[in-house]
């Protein structure tokens, strides 16, 4: 009697100790990404706008019905008609063509600036957060100093000092944007580095460099992607603002901001001159924000299972 009981116990014990486990079905990461990302209408809208934007920027010369730079004083301030779909400005340049060429400026400034600012800002923030002490002191105090000035004012002063032109606009906006990225990255690093897996990683002999860039950075990416897409919107707005104020893209270059500026004197007679670029800015900024949201939801491993 007792023997059978002991026997059963032994069997159960062996079964337990051998740890027979069943693997759950494997879900493809890519499939989940597609599902979460493409499922939502607003994200799809953002994506479509984004694709159209890229297409427009690349094929601007083919798409533009007229030369965006050549004025024709005889056709100045023409209201929209079949030849000039959105009318012409004071110098007789086709608004639609300038709008199309303006996408190049907007995208170039947006992407290049955000790439520069995010790279420098993230590295600085990562270093400050990871090493702490003197490194953090020096980096973050410099960032704080820059942050004392409102973003646009600082960019304005820099752009004014450097002079106009697309290159200087990019430099000015990048420098103004770095502290924002550094700040967020610093905070993220401080919290991520306290995780058990960082200690586990250190216990496996990983170097500081490896921990910073292979383990902390990927964990900060979901937040960073959202910040980057949001900043893309902000940047396009900021570039427009600088151009509007006349220290951004210099004439005859086509930029939405300067188009609004050129047009606002005729707001009552030819409102489309300002409204068209204004609407373009609005739609693009909105689209970027939607994409940012969608990307975060689709990429964040911590949201897996929830979405």
């Amino acid at each position: 009697m007792t023997d059978t009981i002991t026997d059963t116990m032994k069997k159960t014990e062996n079964k337990i100790l051998s740890g027979e486990s069943e693997a759950p079905p494997v879900v493809s990461e890519w499939r989940r990404f597609r599902r979460v990302f493409f499922q939502r209408k607003l994200v799809m809208f953002g994506l479509i706008v984004f694709v159209i934007l890229i297409f427009t920027a690349v094929f601007a010369p083919l798409l533009a019905p007229h030369d965006p730079y050549r004025g024709d004083l005889a056709n100045s301030l023409v209201p929209p008609n079949s030849d000039f779909l959105l009318g012409t400005d004071i110098q007789g340049r086709d608004t639609l063509s300038r709008l199309i060429y303006g996408t190049r400026t907007a995208l170039l400034v947006g992407f290049v600036t955000v790439a520069i600012a995010a790279t420098i800002g993230n590295v600085l923030g990562l270093m400050a957060g990871f090493f702490g002490k003197a490194v953090a002191m020096i980096i973050m105090r410099i960032m704080d100093t820059v942050m004392c000035f409102p973003f646009l004012i600082f960019a304005l002063v820099l752009a004014a000092v450097l002079g106009g032109g697309i290159q200087n606009v990019i430099i000015a906006l990048s420098i103004s944007l770095i502290p924002g990225f550094a700040r967020v990255m610093n905070g993220l690093t401080l919290s991520i580095k306290e995780n058990d897996y960082i200690l586990a990683e250190r216990s496996m002999g990983a170097s500081n460099f490896r921990i910073m860039f292979k383990h902390i950075l990927p964990n900060a990416m979901p937040t960073m992607i959202v910040l980057i897409t949001l900043q893309l919107g902000t940047l396009i707005l900021a570039e427009a603002a600088l151009s509007f104020l006349g220290i951004g893209i210099q004439p005859p270059g086509a930029a939405w901001g300067s188009m609004i500026n050129d047009g606002y004197r005729f707001l009552l007679t030819n409102p489309i001159l300002s409204f068209a670029p204004g609407l373009a800015i609005m739609i693009v900024v909105f689209a970027f924000n939607m994409i940012g949201d969608g990307l975060r939801d689709a990429l964040d491993p911590r949201l897996r299972g929830l979405l």
């Binding site: 740890g19 486990s21 693997a23 496996m204 002999g205």
Partner: protein
């Protein structure tokens, strides 16, 4: 058996606002080749800190102030914490498994990536070779469908399976020593038993030694060859597992044994908890830290400095006055 790890007079202290906390106070222990030792004590008695000190993973305000960690003819404390030598030892020669399987794996990297990373780092394997090895390791720790599971993320795994992965990572580079810091505390009993069994098998397969840090005497009873009992930063008793269970000498060890049920005891014995709480480690006196809670306390226990470990034969040492 030859000595693999010889820790002598290790002292680690934390300088806090309130005073100095000697989390590890003059601790010495040895680990032989292919041996399993258990380090047992309550929360906050310095078990984990002593092991982290061996790996030099103590971060500010903690500081190793004294001692030697002799391993393969070198004193590890001679190296800077962040030196290349120390990094080669961590993971390569001495690996560690942590308490919380749910948070010990990076959630943004696949299991495969985390497994191969160390192989590429310590053994200079190519990506393909490392992947093959990773599959093999996952199979060895009992994860079915290892091939496809390499591309899964940690959240696809249960706690027990993650700890299996941690064991695989820990043993991936063929370390001499595996330190398991409360490896099963966060898991339920059946999984606990599975993992301990797995660890024992894996360690013997790789000819490594194992340090099990735990607060649970039951966990080490079955697996450890020798046991060290820690209290308030000190080792108060050490000996073979048989000696500790059959012939406990220190009142603290006796107390620990009295508060767990045993199968081989007479019916109707009441479980007796140890009265009081572990002391606050800030600015400790030099007298025996356990004395205030001790049921066999003598006058001298409170006035004199705590006695050093005393050899009572059979490889049994106890840090208590002779009665």
């Amino acid at each position: 058996m030859s000595v693999l790890l010889d820790v002598k007079n290790l002292t680690t202290q934390f300088n806090t606002e309130a005073g100095i906390v000697k989390a590890v106070n003059d601790v010495s222990f040895q680990l032989n080749e292919q041996e399993i030792i258990g380090l047992v004590g309550e929360s906050g008695c310095g078990k984990s800190v002593s092991q982290l000190s061996v790996m030099q993973l103590i971060s500010a305000p903690g500081k190793i102030t004294n001692g030697e960690v002799n391993f393969e003819g070198r004193n590890l404390l001679d190296y800077e914490s962040n030196s290349d030598e120390m990094r080669a030892i961590r993971g390569g020669k001495i690996a560690m498994i942590f308490q919380e399987p749910m948070t010990s794996l990076n959630p943004t990297l696949t299991i495969g990536r985390q497994l191969t990373e160390m192989l590429e780092l310590h053994l200079n394997m190519t990506k393909e070779a490392a992947r093959e090895r990773a599959v093999e390791l996952l199979k060895q720790v009992g994860i079915s469908g290892a091939e496809s599971r390499l591309d899964d993320y940690p959240h696809n795994f249960s706690g027990g399976m993650r700890q299996r992965v941690m064991i695989a990572i820990g043993l991936s580079c063929n370390p001499r020593i595996l330190i398991a810091d409360e490896p099963t505390t966060a898991l339920d009993v059946t999984t606990q038993a599975q993992l301990l069994e797995l660890m024992k098998d894996m360690v013997s397969k790789y000819n490594a030694s194992l340090v099990i840090v735990t607060h649970n005497l039951g966990v080490v009873a079955r697996y450890a060859h020798r046991i060290y009992i820690m209290y308030a930063g000190n080792i108060v008793e050490s000996g073979t597992t048989e000696e500790i269970f059959a012939n406990p000498q220190h009142p603290y060890t006796k107390g620990l044994l009295k508060c767990i049920p045993r199968l081989d005891e007479e019916k109707g014995r009441k479980l007796v908890p140890i009265e009081g709480l572990p002391p606050n480690l800030i600015n400790m006196k030099s007298s025996c830290a356990f004395a205030p809670r001790c049921s066999e306390r003598l006058e001298r226990c409170l006035t004199e400095a705590a006695p050093p470990l005393r050899d009572i034969g059979n490889g049994h040492y106890v840090g208590c006055f002779e009665k």
